[in-house]
């Protein structure tokens, strides 16, 4: 990253966090929170896509994050900061173990084993009565002092996490991940521990997924196993694809648009699923490169000299 990037991030982040102060009514706040959390989850999902894999297991890691917050707050009465972090840390540890085993598998097998993992974790969570079984946990509140600042807190956490992910992506480690996606054998032949790099990538993404889970728990105050089924990861993939997977900002834009769309489509009552499904289909057909691809196209169109435009 160049110096300029850091400055843009700092400025953009501050603006984004400050902008959350514009929203003061409870409904807007709830939507803003959902948007930011979805951005983080989408970015986490996309981070694994850097090595060319789709991790539907990440839905389970969001769940682990949420339950970490729930258990730490309501059962153990740990301080807030600890409760925020325990879920992500556990998610990271679990993902390292899981990753060391399953990241040897690639493509559709990895994807479908992720489905199985998410389902298994969801069922397992519902069996444990201490954490509320299938009913889940209630009363997961952030300290009162955050009441008026929750949306800004969520924004700050998410923006910081996104910044870290962005830095990592544009570091040599990020380039290595790209190389693994392109041609993992080359990386292996020059002495790079490919499995190690993949597991590291997976662990980072799972930490972020866990963080998204912690935030979800504190924002919704109530969590249940059914919130963390594989559909959650399906939606993360939708966010990334709708926004455009080539850039982190694509994932952010996709998450923002789709969460707003789904918040809006609630008013359609029974037709909301139909509407949301149609939105996904139309978007992927009309914009295979996502919103970012569309923006890029428009930019090229505007910047291109007339001759090129005629050709196109």
């Amino acid at each position: 990253m160049r110096r300029r990037d850091h400055i843009v991030w700092l400025a953009g982040g501050l603006i984004a966090v400050a902008a959350t102060r514009l929203f003061q009514d409870a409904y807007s706040i709830s939507v803003v929170n959902l948007v930011f959390i979805a951005c983080l989850f989408a970015a986490s999902f996309r981070f694994v896509m850097l090595i060319g894999e789709m991790s539907f297991a990440s839905a389970a890691f969001v769940g682990v994050g949420a339950y970490g917050a729930g258990v730490a707050t309501t059962l153990l009465h740990w301080p807030f900061a600890l409760a925020m972090l325990v879920g992500p840390v556990v998610a990271t540890l679990v993902s390292i173990g899981f990753g060391l085993i399953v990241l040897r598998i690639k493509g559709p097998y990895f994807m479908l084993i992720g489905f199985a993992f998410a389902e298994a974790v969801q069922i397992a969570a519902a069996q444990i009565q201490v954490i509320g079984g299938p009913s889940g946990m209630v009363g997961i509140f952030a300290p009162r002092i955050l009441d008026a600042w929750m949306q800004s807190f969520v924004a700050a956490v998410v923006v910081t996490a996104l910044y870290l992910l962005y830095r990592l992506e544009w570091s040599d480690f990020g380039r290595l991940l790209g190389a693994i996606q392109n041609n993992d054998n080359v990386a292996r032949t020059v002495g790079v521990n490919v499995l190690g790099a993949k597991v590291t990538c997976f662990a980072v993404a799972s930490f972020m997924a866990g963080l998204a889970g912690s935030l979800t728990a504190f924002v919704n105050n109530v969590i249940a196993p059914s919130d963390f089924g594989f559909m959650l990861a399906n939606f993360a993939l939708v966010y990334v694809k709708v926004g455009g997977e080539r850039s982190l900002f694509g994932a952010v834009a996709g998450a923002t648009v789709m969460v707003l769309l789904s918040s809006y489509s609630i008013v359609l009552g029974a037709s909301n699923e139909l509407f949301y499904g149609a939105a996904i289909v139309v978007t992927i057909l009309l914009m295979p490169q996502g919103l970012a691809g569309l923006v890029e196209k428009i930019r090229l169109r505007l910047m291109a000299p007339k001759a090129v435009r005629r050709e196109a």
Partner: protein, 245 residues
């Protein structure tokens, strides 16, 4: 280690069977420090399998592999590459979607930290004449450049042994000449030992110090180019009646 005649890589009785098919059978050869050794043979002779065996991508059915004086039979690709043996692949040993610069950078990751990586990338690119296209996407470059990028990645790891799998395929006469020059400079400037698998017999004859000929998974002959060209078995099996082409 590393006297002029010491052996960096030694295979003894190396054998690989896939089910009923014997791809490599009882192969024993030495790779001596500082030389360029050619491994030739007709299609299906088992060259690629040999490459996979010595780079740890496949495990031998029988036999022994010794690298830098240590027994490496059955070691993983990662272990072997970390010991200093780096290989390329026949079909695209580079990352299409990344810039040439980032491609070469991957080769430095394991060995170097911090600014040293950038320096190494620049040096390697300079040596292979890639400086002018460092910021281009590798996949968009001409075929000859792509071949050089593959070699550059491997070279950026500064291996003691560099194994190149058909690096000249698809290059024109001029490009072949350039790349052969690069091999010699690599050997001379970095002291890298090179194992070369090639179809292009003429090029192999021109650049290699010694040649091993494979035929149906078996070692047919071994020796300096002149000796090989006059070996009757080789002529019969591989070079054909017109060995002067």
């Amino acid at each position: 280690m590393g006297g002029a005649t010491s052996s960096l890589l030694r295979t003894s009785g190396l054998t690989k069977r896939f089910g009923g098919l014997t791809a490599v059978s009882d192969l024993s050869f030495d790779l001596r420090s500082g030389e360029i050794l050619g491994l030739i043979g007709p299609n299906g002779a088992g060259k690629s399998t040999v490459f996979n065996l010595i780079s740890g991508f496949t495990k031998p059915t029988a036999g022994r592999l010794e690298l830098f004086g240590r027994d490496c039979t059955g070691s993983s690709a990662l272990t072997i590459s970390r010991m200093g043996l780096v290989r390329t692949f026949q079909h695209g040993s580079y990352m299409k979607a990344m810039t040439v610069r980032d491609n070469i950078l991957i080769g430095t990751l394991q060995r170097l930290r911090g600014p040293a990586r950038r320096k190494c990338v620049a040096e390697t690119a300079e040596m292979l004449g890639l400086t002018s296209c460092l910021d281009r996407i590798a996949g968009s470059q001409p075929h000859g450049i792509q071949r050089l990028v593959s070699i550059a990645i491997a070279l950026a790891a500064r291996p003691r042994v560099l194994c190149l799998d058909e690096p000249l395929t698809g290059l024109n006469q001029t490009e072949v000449g350039g790349v052969l020059g690069v091999f010699q400079r690599i050997r001379n400037e970095f002291g890298t030992t090179i194992l070369l698998v090639e179809h292009n017999t003429k090029a192999v004859m021109a650049v290699c110090d010694r040649i091993v000929v494979l035929h149906h998974g078996q070692q047919l002959a071994e020796g300096p180019p002149l000796e090989i060209t006059s070996n009757a078995d080789v002529i019969a099996a591989y070079l054909g009646p017109r060995h002067d082409r």
